[in-house]
């Protein structure tokens, strides 16, 4: 497996308060990583650091050749202007934009790619509708479609199941499973259950980062994670292998 991203000794904070400390993370091709942890633990911050949206205090993020421009990003619903007058097609085609093309017209190839990806996610018929008219599940698929247009090597999703119903959650995880043979997938989530069959590794983040392999997080563990808020806040993830962290 090829190493695509290497996060080394990364630290970051807001004002003077550290959010992440000395975090190391390697992402290999075809990895499927879940990032879980309490609110304010640094999950989204880590993703934003990898994407270059914010700059770290110290440490480094190294990309293998060509990967830094091939990062797919599916943000939380709250990060964009939902009342913006934009059609689904125009939103998805934004995925083709790059530092080399933002001052040029869309190429025929971009239009074909956008149409193809809309067909793949089952939203082609709705391409001329305003994004306001889409359901939560459809909007989530549209955001994924936007991130896929650029043919990413790594797909990073921030709370992809937060605003969608159970059926949409299941079809989302099935869709991601299908993509995993072609790209690494990193999911930040409070809700790891829908991904329980798919992930390879879990990273628990609460300022520090801890890793676990597949099978170490079962339903019993999850019950504990979401049933023990005190430990969740204090440690990041209370679970049966808590001792391994010490």
């Amino acid at each position: 497996m090829k190493k695509l991203i290497e996060v080394k000794d990364l630290s970051f904070g807001y004002k003077d308060i550290p959010v992440l400390q000395n975090v190391d993370l390697n992402i290999f091709s075809n990895d499927y990583i879940l990032i879980i942890g309490p609110n304010g633990g640094g999950k989204t911050t880590l993703v934003k650091l990898i994407l270059g949206i914010i700059t770290p205090w110290s440490g480094s993020i190294n990309f293998s050749k060509g990967v830094s421009t091939r990062l797919g990003y599916v943000p939380q619903f709250s990060s964009f202007n939902k009342s913006f007058p934009i059609t689904l097609f125009d939103m998805v085609s934004m995925g083709c934009i790059s530092p080399k093309s933002f001052f040029k017209r869309y190429k025929k190839e971009d239009i074909a790619k956008t149409e193809g990806i809309l067909e793949k996610v089952g939203l082609y018929e709705k391409r001329n509708e305003n994004i306001n008219n889409l359901s939560g599940g459809q909007l989530q698929r549209a955001l994924i479609a936007r991130s896929l247009v650029a043919e990413p090597a790594v797909l990073l999703l921030d709370e992809p199941t937060a605003s969608i119903d159970m059926t949409s959650k299941m079809s989302l995880t099935d869709f991601l499973d299908g993509l995993n043979s072609r790209m690494a997938i990193v999911v930040v989530t409070h809700d790891p259950i829908p991904f329980s069959k798919s992930y390879d590794h879990i990273a628990c983040i609460n300022r520090d980062i801890y890793y676990h392999g597949k099978g170490e997080l079962d339903s019993h563990v999850l019950e504990k994670v979401y049933g023990c808020p005190v430990e969740l806040l204090g440690h990041g993830i209370p679970h049966t292998i808590l001792k391994d962290h010490d």
Binding site: K48, L51, G52, I53, S68, T69, L71, Y73, P75, S79, F80, N81, F84, P85, I86, T87, D90, M91, M94, I97, S98, P99, S101, F102, F103, K104, R105, Y106, N128, E129, N130, R146, A150
Partner: protein, 271 residues
Amino acid sequence: MTEFFSILSYEFMQNAVLAGLLASMVCGVIGPFVVARQMVFISGGLSHAAFGGLGIAYFLGINPLYGATAFVLLSAGGLGLLKEKTGKSDLFIGILWAIGMAIGIIFIHLTPGYTPDLMTFLFGNILTVPRSDLFIMSVLVLVVLLTVSIFYRGFVSIAFDEEYAMARRLPVRWLDIALLLLIGLSIITLIQVVGIILVIALLTIPVAIAEEFSNAFSNVMIISAALGVFICWTGLFFSYLIAFPSGASIIMVGGMLLGVVKIAKKTAGRY
């Protein structure tokens, strides 16, 4: 109506009609970005800062438009850089707003001889736009249209989802500053028509109406521009007909149109 067309033979009326057309173009092109990126307060700050430039230009005896343009561009660039450094802009906008006005009032007060009527700057007078200013306005509009057409995709990206644009490694900060400068140039064009205080209305009302009729950003631009023409010319007509101040008449036409459209849409939705 016939009388209105007959007065089109007067140069001042031709100038007013052309000024309305030019103003509408920037309303259509820049207004949707102002609304989408929630830059209404910044636009208000820049238009009031322009008054400082107008005052200094009057004092120095040069064309006030040059002074206003220089002042607004400096303010827009400065605001953009401060926003980039501090992540905040509200405080600076408020300061710029008040200091710009204060500088303008002081320099107009210091100008010897004839003191221009402050009301003309604050509320505009489309009927007094000279041919020479139309030329400057045309150049400003051309710069705005060309820049937006070149960087359209970048501007739309940051207006819709700034974070995603950053993730795509777009030069978001520079695009933001460029947009601020374009808003500044648009304000200079609009001040001639509706004055410093009413500029914000002309940047927002046509967009608010256009958004009721279109799903796509580019269409909102076109509809806003068309509505701008309708609002400016209708306001001009009423202003002439009933001898009302032109700037206020234009804005009132826009406001009433917005009210009618909103009520009509709501009523239509019920049936």
